[in-house]
């Protein structure tokens, strides 16, 4: 329980800080605005604002005949905040624009898209709404979920609206008919009655209609979007534009803008003020850690879960993009982003100045802090002073390590860096290390899972976690994350996610019997085993080809070909497989600017590595055939190839078979190294399960047994086949 208090307290503190900060920024801007525009402050002035007559939900007349709508509420609220008055004149869209160009009005707010052509004439505010076309169907119609389902059907759209031009542009491709109608009411009625299968319209208009209960539902993401802005005549009323921008950003920050949108658009309101342009419909590869519960870990069914995962998924949903989450381990996740293998990283990653050199961070989404934990039954260590002469562990690249190292000399202890949470806890549980320094939510989660430790010190050196992209790339993804996060913080979704993990931690697993654990982990482990076997089989096929090609080069008798083969063999036998894997997954793609998925990179690595050994097996096999065999064949008039094929190779294959089976077993075992790349093979699955339940003894026993059984069975089978074929 104390954890949730802490996180709440810290969230409250952060909130207060942000308010203070914003107030300060606001003051600064206010002051500078006063100074810059001393001749025309907005306070007390009255501005004429032109608008459309009816563009629900942005502007329309309510039951009592007053102008209302998103635009109206927005401009009135900003005017109130900035201390000026507005005189709203509903002139119609074209007339509103003319009123501004002729000086009749000071500004226009009319659901007006920001376009390059209009920028020639107007100065626009920051965009306040992202629009776009969506498709809606009758709420109870589950047969139409995408454009493909429209074949042979009729859809409706509004005359002169973007929805119509979009629907027409895809009508041929998907084989439907478009019917243009003059009013929104008619369109909705057509769909509600079943005369039309779907309606295409601007998303806020659709959303408003649905919120008003027209009986439809939206089924596709936004298409062909544009942004709405407030505009003044180019070069005039700069202070009005500035006041609008300031007011808008204040409203976004304190959630009142979101509330305003919700009022008109209901549950279809965007999470924040607007979806960020340029991310909709895209899929981003998001790298994360493998074992950083409660931020990311695999649940019993082997799916990634945790605060980070829920956060990014929810933001993706709100912002209309897809994420492909890759659990690679912390270091590998950062490398994946720097090498371009991933677009972003969310991995309980502290925002530090050093990292800011390489990454662009989002707004912080979690405030952490380092604590020290010791074995639950250890009463000798209650403070840093008790650590003198002892060894402590901390996680590579984590704040806990930095903090521990910063006080190590002062208190006279040694710091050992480890890569995995479960390894760290085992070190402390077994007494190899006296204490562990780690981020408080992680420690708390592990203790709740029954890792046998207890926390003995208060939080130190709080740091903030951020989502990161490679410096200078994916700015729209970062923007979308910030927008989505701020929306979630505004509507309480964010706190719900935090509470889900820190208030009621998943206590499953630790009290389970061995058999229960075995049954529960088997599906994930079998999935891993399948990938292990697939990677092995693929790699061996390619390795055999490489082995035959280079093996023959080695016995060709041609010096140049022989040295080519020798260089290949020397390189791949002379470097560690792990380095090769890193090279092909991180190094080469960075250099060449390509993306390799982990299976491809893994198979390339294993193929080339095993290929080098196969080359030697092939060479050895051929050379171990008596030279008299080749001479006898050649003396009969057979050429080199014929002699090889008929006489040497059949005998060499017999000699090579045991070595080949041996290499097969080695390659199968080597696939486990690909776990470091996040390749979800058997060893990786084992790591994932332990990261969740900390039961390393049982899980590694099971994983080891699985390898043993499979390798023994396959070896026996291979030997039997060998005996049958080679008699």
């Amino acid at each position: 329980m104390h954890i949730s208090h802490r996180s709440r307290a810290s969230a409250a503190r952060t909130g207060a800080l942000i308010t203070l900060l914003l107030g300060f920024i606001g003051m600064t801007f206010g002051v500078s605005a006063l100074q810059a525009h001393a001749e025309g402050p907005v306070e007390g002035q009255t501005f004429v604002i032109a608008t459309d007559t009816t563009f629900a939900p942005f502007e329309f007349r309510d039951a009592s005949g007053d102008m209302t709508g998103i635009d109206m509420d927005l401009i009135r609220e900003i005017a109130q905040r900035k201390g000026f008055n507005v005189d709203i004149q509903a002139l119609g869209f074209d007339a509103a624009l003319q009123a501004v160009t002729s000086g009749q009005a000071d500004g226009v707010i009319a659901g007006m898209s920001i376009t390059d052509a209009r920028k020639e004439v107007f100065d626009f505010s920051a965009p306040y709404f992202s629009s776009g076309v969506q498709m809606a169907v009758r709420a109870d119609d589950s047969s139409i979920t995408s454009y493909e389902d429209l074949r042979g059907k009729t859809v409706v759209a509004k005359t002169g609206a973007e929805g119509l031009s979009f629907a027409q542009s895809i009508a041929d491709q998907y084989g439907f008919t478009v019917k243009a109608l003059g009013s929104a009411d008619t369109m909705y009625a057509e769909v509600a009655s079943g005369n039309a299968a779907a309606v295409f319209d601007d998303y806020p208009v659709l959303a408003y209609g649905i919120a008003q209960g027209n009986g439809l539902k939206v089924v596709t993401p936004k298409e062909q979007g544009s942004s709405y802005g407030f505009a003044v005549l180019k070069g005039s009323n700069a202070e009005l534009l500035q006041a609008f921008n300031e007011g808008l950003s204040e409203m976004k920050a304190d959630g009142s803008y979101h509330a305003l949108l919700t009022k008109y658009l209901g549950s279809n309101a965007p999470a924040d003020d607007a979806q960020v342009e340029g991310v909709q419909g895209k899929t981003f590869v998001i790298a994360t850690d493998t074992t950083f519960a409660p931020f990311e870990y695999r649940n019993e069914s082997g799916e990634m879960t945790g605060i980070d995962i829920d956060l990014i998924n929810e933001i993706a949903r709100r912002q209309g993009f897809s994420v492909d989450i890759r659990a690679l381990g912390f270091d590998a996740a950062l490398q994946a982003v720097t090498s371009g293998q991933a677009d972003g990283v969310i991995a309980g990653m502290s925002i530090t100045d050093a990292r800011k050199e390489v990454f662009d961070f989002s707004a912080p989404y979690f405030d952490s802090g380092v604590q020290m934990a010791v074995r639950a039954d250890d009463d000798t260590i209650t403070s840093y002073e008790d650590l003198s002469g002892k060894t402590v562990v901390a996680k590579t690249g984590a704040e806990g390590l930095t903090f521990a190292q910063s006080i190590a000399d002062q208190y006279g202890f040694t710091v050992k860096a480890l890569d995995k949470a479960d390894t760290m806890y085992s070190e402390v549980a077994t007494g190899n290390a006296a204490a562990v320094f780690d981020d408080y939510p992680v420690l708390a989660y592990g203790i709740n899972q029954g890792n046998g430790l207890k926390i003995v010190t208060p939080k130190e050196q709080g740091s903030s976690y951020g989502f990161a992209v490679l410096k200078g790339s994916n700015p729209e993804l970062l923007q979308a994350f910030n927008a989505g996060l701020s929306g979630m913080q505004t509507d309480g979704t964010y706190q719900a996610i935090i509470d889900k993990y820190l208030k009621a931690p998943d206590a499953g697993g630790s009290s389970q019997s061995f058999w229960g654990l075995l049954v529960q982990s088997m599906p994930a482990l079998l999935k891993g085993l399948l990938l292990t076997l697939a990677a092995t089989a693929l790699s061996l096929v390619f390795a055999s080809v490489l082995g035959v090609v280079f093996g023959f080069l080695k016995v060709s008798g041609n010096k140049i070909l022989q040295s080519i083969a020798s260089v290949y063999v020397d390189i791949f036998r002379g470097t560690p497989l792990l380095v090769q894997a890193f090279f092909f997954y991180f190094g080469l793609p960075t250099a060449l600017g390509i993306k390799l998925d982990v299976l491809t990179a893994g198979v390339i690595t294993l193929s080339l590595n095993a290929g080098a050994y196969m080359t030697e097996i092939v060479r050895g096999g051929i050379q171990s055939v008596d030279t008299g065999q080749m001479e006898a064949a050649r003396s009969l008039g057979l050429n080199w190839m014929q002699s090889m094929r008929k006489i040497i190779v059949p005998q060499a294959v017999k000699i090579m078979t045991p070595s080949f089976i041996n290499q097969f077993v080695i390659t199968l075992k080597d696939t486990s190294l690909l776990a470091v790349l996040g390749f979800a093979e058997l060893t990786y699955q084992g790591q994932q399960i332990i990261a969740r339940n900390f039961r390393s003894f049982e899980v590694w026993l099971i994983v080891g047994a699985m390898y043993f059984i499979v390798i023994s069975a396959l070896t026996k089978l291979s030997n039997r086949i060998d005996r049958r074929i080679n008699k």
């Binding site: 008596d626 008299g628 065999q629 001479e631 006898a632 064949a633 050649r634 003396s635 009969l636 008039g637 057979l638 050429n639 014929q642 008929k646 006489i647 059949p650 005998q651 017999k654």
Partner: protein, 247 residues
């Protein structure tokens, strides 16, 4: 040995070096059709190397080897074609252990002459009859005695119907009681008019069967002539010395 006999092999100033070690130091000789030439000499004298130069199992360092009018040292000569007409029998038989006796014999005819399976099989049968091993046609080499292996090797070498047969110490790896059966086959071949070059230690065979004897020492032919004369009355000191030891 009539003057009009066709020249089968013509060797001119043949030199062969392995690295800096010169094994053949200028050998010239001519072998006619139907002639049986025995090559004798102490070990290390270059007998086997000389023989292996005749079908280019060893590359020639300099000099010329012309077989049935074709210059083996010419890069444009298709050596595989020439070899089909030169059978070779090795000291250690070099039978293909993964094939049966029949397959050993049928390999070259079916691959190079494109004989059908039945044709190749009947060829193997008649060759095996010739070496008196008909009953072993489906045996594996590992099931044969040394003498039987060498007779199969001879049959295999005859399978392409060669004009010349080279024998590289064909009886040296055999137990004494098996030497006779191999020599009998070779005698029959000689009697049938085959051109043969035989590197051997069998002085009896050289005396009785060969038409001409080459005595080699230190990479040179130091004495040659009618075998009965050379063996009975050697002129060169090296020949005398060698014969004193082996006879």
């Amino acid at each position: 040995m009539s003057e009009s006999a066709k020249t089968m092999i013509e060797v001119t100033d043949l030199h062969k070096s392995f690295g800096s070690n010169e094994v053949l130091k200028g050998i010239s000789t001519t072998i006619n059709q139907g002639e049986v030439v025995a090559v004798i000499g102490p070990s290390g004298s270059g007998k086997s190397t000389f023989l292996r130069c005749l079908n280019l199992l060893e590359e020639v360092t300099s000099g010329k080897v012309i077989v049935e009018g074709r210059d083996l040292t010419d890069k444009n000569t298709d050596i595989n074609q020439v070899r089909q007409k030169i059978g070779m029998v090795f000291q250690h038989f070099n039978l293909f252990p993964h094939q049966t006796v029949a397959e050993n014999i049928m390999l070259a005819p079916s691959m190079l002459k494109k004989l059908s399976k039945t044709e190749a099989r009947s060829r193997a049968e008649s060759l095996l009859a010739q070496v008196k091993l008909s009953e072993k046609i489906d045996a594996r080499p590992a099931q044969l005695s040394g003498g039987q292996k060498q007779r199969v090797a001879i049959a295999r070498a005859l399978a392409m119907d060669p004009d010349i047969m080279l024998f590289d110490e064909p009886t040296s790896a055999l137990d004494p009681e098996m030497v006779g059966e191999v020599l009998d086959v070779m005698k029959a071949l000689a009697a049938a008019g085959m051109t043969m070059v035989v590197v051997t230690h069998e002085m009896g065979f050289a005396r009785e069967v060969s038409d001409r004897l080459l005595f080699m020492a230190d990479g040179r032919v130091v004495e040659e002539g009618d075998p009965r004369e050379v063996l009975a009355n050697p002129q060169n000191d090296r020949t005398k010395d060698f014969l004193a030891k082996v006879l």
